[in-house]
Amino acid sequence: MNEGEYTWYPGCSLLGNAKSYDTTTRQVFELLGLSLKELDDWNCCGTAAYSGMPLKRAIALSGRNLALAGNIGKDMATACPACYKVLLTAQNYMSENKLLKEEVCAVLREAGVEYTNGVPVRHILDILVNDVGEQKIKAAVKNPLKDLQVACYYGCQIVRPYALFDDREDPQTMDRLLKWCGATSVPFSLKTRCCGAMLMSTETDVAVELSYQILETARRAGADCVATACPLCLMNLDGYQDRMPQVRGRMHMPVVYFTQLLAYAFGIPVNKLELERNLEPVDDLIAKLEGGAVNV
């Protein structure tokens, strides 16, 4: 593997609703001196919906991305937990099921793609903590996130079913990253609790309740914002706060990508973080960040 060079698999969300995640990830990698080269001609990973299809089809879809990236030979970085999970699953099926692998390879060959041995699929949290590490992150910090209380929310897919680089129940990588940037991570027990995911569109009441638990726990822990690594989580947590129970008044909890906070800490101005894409107003958070910066 070439050190500091990664193949970037953005996935569909990062081109659409999670554009700010894409932008800030690229900024963060650039500021750390890492190369992040987008995979040429990538396709959708299939996400949860396509996993329900006959196995061969679902695996072939992700297999194509793995094959393309495998030919480049650099670790494939991804930010979306769904892409991460689906690509890992495909990889696992391919290495454990010889018959399936042969069938998928045949399908891919017809499409003109040669699958060799796949490629290491890495989540950016893993890369930032384990490849880059504390020293380099701390050295890159220009605006420490002083006084910022963050609840680190990982969502369910980064550590399930494969807990490759972090704990299944109590992951720590995001907490460590943000601490290195000067923030405080509040004690937060629902780090990997489900936000409701796709149920938000079909069983809205159920999903709103789940999202509410996460935000209310963060609020009670004294968080200024919730940092997440997942586009779908952000959408659910951010978009439905007006429909949540109002035991302690209406919820106003800013939910941001952890990369937005990193980018800010590394010196990217607040107006370049695309925070305006959030549905819930983030003025308080911005005030807090800017106030902190002034105080430095």
Binding site: E169, D170, P187, S189, E209, Y212, Q213, E216, T217, R220, P245, V247
Partner: protein, 696 residues
């Protein structure tokens, strides 16, 4: 077959083998062709007679062997049936009765090693044939050996001073034998010492336990080794040698009278707010219970036996700074001694009873249940202490704010029946949860909800108790408690703990707000069970508990001769079962010791003196110090009385001068030859129809 009744003319050492293939009902016969195996065996060299029979271990089966030995003049027997651990002794005895040397018997295991694990009928038959052939080839070379006698020291080491250990110790001591009762905690009494009431009779745990504790302490035949660890164990059945480390208490046992002056003044009470509020009552608790406000100088319970405090070096201020000395000053008898050191001693015993108990599941591992994070989520263990009349609240059930709860939820199966933690059922939790429910209802006007998967109440009076508790108005919800949340959805939920579960009877999600949650934590093997097992030669099963010799027929024995099991170290069980097993273990240990000496296997190592080069390689290797070096002859010699037939010297001898009796090279090579015989030799080709001649 020319030789029939009377006195057959046989050369003395010519092997005459009988082979018996057991059906084991359908356990073997249902999976392979026992007829064919018996027939094939009949064609093997030296086999005089071969038969198959439904149940070889029955008295009829045994008589069959005995009669054949007499009738055909057999001097070798192979029984091809189950595992030798089950019936080798049975058949050896049958052979002995008929006048054959029992070591010329060989067991061929075609059940565990074959019929139970080999699916294909034809393949299983072939494999069984090979196993039988191997045993038959081997047995022809089995020499007649004699059993050896070992003397048994009339003393027992009981490891663990909980209720099982105490019971075993008292039984043996009452029979007039010496007992060393070893306990690593400062006091004996084990887990039961922290219970308030016991199910289903609801008698006071302390009232039935403490008399036994003091009886054990005062018994002339029991020597209490409290606050001691087993460091090393050597020896074998009848002659074990144990090295015991007595841990420094920093209290002079001869001077201390247990007045309490020292522990009252220790400033190291753990100082959480909750603890301060609860401090009103008695202050002293077990360290496993987190609501215990415990100083560095403490006594485990006020009923501790021996009634001596102990100073915990790790937390004591004196050992860190040399200052404080409050306890030293408070003790008017001068019993506090910071210079005390660990001391060591060796003891010799004939038998050992392992009663090391369990540890309770660490509830912090199930993060979603909130223990250690949410106030008023406590474990059942903590509830016992809270409810205990000599507990911190004097037996009142109080929340952290000092108020009694108005509603309580009890969550079953925490850490049990859960693939993430322990697959096993901890067996006691359903019943103790019902007991807790009863105690809450008795003491408070509170709603009690039990969240259970299945209600498991198989014991005398247990189901009746379950009905009684239901009649008392406890609300049963069939569904595992999935999560405890302190995040309210409605104003009514504010300040409550919400238990979430899937009610499998109603088929719906439940969310029940309560004031207090009690987690019914399961039982796990002790953390160091494996280490102890290694020292004793007793292995641990999948779930980590010690394995008994036979799950049904020898539940208190182990594979190691002279070492027995009692109580929860063998698997989760309640007090009556622990006590019953302790009695069984004690009885079996006594039976051995009463004989004074027992026979052990005739296997031992033997040095061929003409081949011995006198290199002395073997001498230091023998773990039982059984090898002497005869200087004037310049050879090594094994003392058969001490040899345990471990084989270490056999493998080590560079001149191949040492033979393991019963496991000689020619026996093992013959066994291999038998197993690898070409198939056509094992099965005779089926005779063409109408062909002349024929087999037996």
């Amino acid at each position: 077959m020319s030789e029939t009744n009377g006195s057959p003319e046989i050369k003395k050492d010519e092997p005459r083998i009988g082979v018996y293939v057991c059906h084991c009902g359908t356990n073997i016969a249902g999976y392979l062709d026992v007829n064919k195996v018996a027939e094939g065996a009949g064609a093997l060299p030296n086999v005089v007679v071969s038969r198959d029979y439904k149940y070889m271990c029955s008295s009829m089966g045994q008589e069959l062997i005995e009669n054949d030995i007499k009738e055909f003049g057999l001097n070798r027997v192979v029984v091809s049936a189950c595992s030798p651990t089950l019936h080798e002794k049975t058949f050896r005895a049958a052979c002995s009765r008929a006048g054959m040397n029992q070591y010329q018997f060989q067991m061929a295991n075609i059940r565990e090693h074959c019929s139970w694990v080999t699916k294909d009928y034809a393949k299983a038959t072939e494999k069984a044939m090979r196993i039988v052939s191997a045993a038959t080839h081997r047995v022809a070379r089995n020499r007649a050996l004699e059993e050896r006698k070992v003397t048994i020291k009339p003393a027992t080491l009981v490891i663990g001073g909980g209720i099982a250990g105490i019971e075993a110790a008292l039984t043996i001591a009452n029979a007039g034998k010496k007992v060393y009762l070893l306990e690593r905690e400062p006091s004996i009494g084990g887990r039961m010492a922290y219970f308030d009431k016991t199910f289903p009779t609801l008698d006071c745990a302390a009232c039935i336990l403490t008399p036994k504790m003091s009886e054990a302490a005062n018994h002339p035949n029991i020597e209490l080794l409290a606050y001691c660890e087993l460091e090393e164990l050597s020896g074998y059945l009848g002659n074990f040698k144990a090295k015991i480390r007595k841990k420094a208490r920093y209290i002079d046992e001869d001077l201390c009278v247990g007045c309490g002056n020292c522990w009252e003044v220790c400033p190291q009470w753990r100082s959480s707010e909750a603890v301060k509020k609860r401090k009103a009552g008695v202050k002293v608790f077990h360290h496993e219970a987190t609501i215990s406000p415990m100083g560095s100088c403490y006594i485990p319970t006020l009923q501790a036996v021996p009634k001596l405090p102990v100073i915990e070096k790790d937390t004591c201020i004196h050992f860190k700074t040399g200052k404080c000395n409050k306890c030293l000053e408070a003790c008017t008898l001068g019993a506090v001694n910071f210079d005390q050191q660990d001391t060591y001693r060796d003891i010799e015993v004939g038998t050992i009873i392992v009663a090391t108990g369990t540890k309770v599941f660490d509830a912090a591992r199930v993060k979603e249940l909130g223990w250690g994070r949410l106030p008023n989520v406590i474990t059942s263990q903590e509830f016992e202490i809270l409810c205990n009349a000599s507990g911190p609240t004097g037996g009142q059930i109080l929340m952290e704010n000092g108020e009694p709860p108005k509603s309580v939820a009890i969550l079953h199966c925490v850490g049990s029946r859960d693939e993430n933690y322990n697959v096993h059922c901890s067996r006691v939790c359903c019943m103790y949860s019902l007991k807790i429910a009863h105690l809450v209802r008795e003491k408070l006007d509170a709603d009690v909800f039990e969240f259970y998967i299945d209600m498991r109440t198989p014991g005398k009076g247990f189901e009746e108790f379950y009905h009684r508790v239901m009649d008392e108005g406890v609300i049963m919800i069939r569904g595992r408690g999935a999560a405890v949340s302190d995040v309210p959805f409605t104003p009514e939920e504010e300040g409550k703990l919400m238990v979430e579960a899937e009610d499998t009877l109603l088929g719906m999600r439940r969310r029940v707000p309560v004031d207090m949650v009690i987690l019914a934590v399961g039982l796990e093997p002790q953390e160091d069970a494996m280490d102890l097992g290694r020292m004793l030669g007793v292995s641990c099963g999948m779930s980590g508990f010690f394995i008994e010799r036979h799950p049904k027929l020898a539940p208190a024995m182990t594979m190691a001769e002279g070492i027995f099991l009692a109580g929860t170290c063998q698997g989760p069980k309640d007090i009556p079962d622990s006590v019953a097993q302790a009695g069984a273990a004690a009885g079996q240990a006594l039976a051995l010791m009463d004989q004074g000496e027992v026979s052990v296997e005739g296997f031992f190592a033997e040095v061929a003196e003409d081949a011995c080069s006198g290199c002395r390689t073997c001498v230091p290797l023998c773990p039982y110090r059984a090898i002497d070096f005869i200087t004037d002859k310049n050879v090594a010699r094994v003392n058969p009385a001490l040899c345990q037939a471990c084989g270490t010297c056999v493998a080590a001898c560079p001149s191949s001068a040492i033979t393991g009796q019963g496991y000689s090279d020619d026996q093992l090579v013959a066994e291999l030859d038998g197993a690898l015989l070409p198939l056509s030799d094992l099965f005779e080709e089926p005779e063409p129809v109408g062909a002349p001649g024929g087999g037996v």
